[in-house]
Subunit: 256 residues, 2 copies
């Protein structure tokens, strides 16, 4: 089926957050990512645009209704794409099809306090996915979970990890027994800390750390011990999150 | 002192790897990074280009000879800069002024096997800096340590962490008693593994993992246990490196 110029223009507009929010749709690009969606959540796929060889190889017809599949030229794909080098396939997805409710259960929920780098946000979703954490809260000022670079750097975790876009107060209202932890310097050693079973861990902004207003809600500051000859002021936000989640998992596993 | 158009053009060329290698010089940009260099290694600074208010505030004259300091306009700074929004100061540095010999001592040396993302390489240098590791080997196909995005994401660690650009065989020749570890799935649990005192840890490429040729040199594969409900195929390369380095430090610390 041919694709109209207006449709191409509209698809292209979804690379901008304002239009993603307006239409509640987003774009996933590239062979690997589109195949992940087809495998794991084909119902989320509203439309699929791909080169003919890709369609012949991946046979999406059993998973997506035929009238939603568009065989496009490389030129058309380039016009829809947000990438410098468009890669075989592009899918239109429903924002509401991604998990967006964090279950109220034991585990470590990560709270992103203005994590602005899309690569960091993607890496943090991968951490939550790897350790099977209940979910991630994207606090105000954080990157948009539907941003193409976030999606790309999650390596598929965006399909599995519940993300709530809210602030910490709103998340906690109506939920009880969460301890609030903050990842920062000068706290207790993450590797000897007896983690609570159910907690939120605040990960601070790349440049400014954790906002003072959030610190006042914190039950415990958890730190990664520096080496005897260590010199850095801080670790990358995603790296720090990964290390503390590993410590949490290690503690929880040892207890059992 | 005024800056010639040719000099501006030459400085701009250093945003490209080929010219950095040809002239053995590189650029550090932005208020924070340039101040770090002034504080920690002013001798590395061949030339300093900055706006007048920045020069008045930071008074570099005691640290850098006056004839190497250039008071530039915002337009000139923009012409030299590789950033969209040039930020107050830019410094020309000597590549050989950065630490480039990894001391032959106990600790974990990180080997980057085609780590191509500059943000990942920068985050890994920060990890090495934080834990006080002996250094990082940038194997063939890895990002350039003098790349502006690498420099930026090290948050100053580029000034302190020794980096050798070589392959694993060349690094090991003439050095003995290094165990070779690989960070990958299906290995021993990093949190219960009795780490050797002196080792190289191979961190694999973002998409393809560790090259088969390197695996054949490996004494032990070290893994990060996945959560019971974990779903991801892998972690981000820098996150995985950070977690294994934390496990190494934890083991080494507990032993003492």
């Amino acid at each position: 089926m041919a694709v109209s110029k207006n449709r191409i223009k509209w698809l292209k507009s979804l690379h901008i957050k304002k239009y993603r929010q307006k239409y509640n749709n987003f774009i996933v690009e590239g062979d690997k990512m589109v195949r992940e969606v087809l495998d794991q959540n084909p119902a989320a796929m509203l439309e699929l645009y791909a080169l003919e060889p890709w369609l012949s190889t991946n046979l999406p017809k059993g998973k997506v209704p035929a009238d939603r599949i568009f065989d496009v030229s490389l030129t058309e794909l380039g016009q829809m794409s947000g990438q410098n080098t468009p890669n075989q396939a592009l899918a239109l997805l429903d924002c509401d099809a991604l998990p967006n409710v964090i279950p109220d259960k034991n585990g470590l929920v990560l709270y992103l306090d203005q994590i602005q780098d899309p690569g960091n946000m993607g890496a943090i979703l991968r951490i939550a996915d790897w350790f099977g954490l209940p979910g991630v809260i994207a606090g105000p000022g954080s990157a948009d979970r539907f941003n193409a670079k976030v999606i790309q750097s999650t390596m598929g975790a965006f399909l599995r990890v519940p993300v709530e876009e809210t602030d910490l107060g709103a998340f906690l209202s109506g939920r009880s027994d969460y301890k609030i932890l903050a990842a920062d310097a000068k706290g207790v050693n993450a590797f000897t800390y007896p983690f609570p079973e159910k907690a939120v861990l605040i990960i601070g902004n790349e440049g400014n750390g954790i906002a003072p207003g959030l610190f006042s809600l914190t039950d415990e500051v958890v730190s990664i011990p520096k080496g005897a000859e260590g010199g850095a002021e801080s670790l990358n936000a995603a790296v720090a999150a990964g290390i503390i989640c590993a410590a949490f998992q290690q503690y929880t596993y040892q207890k059992k």
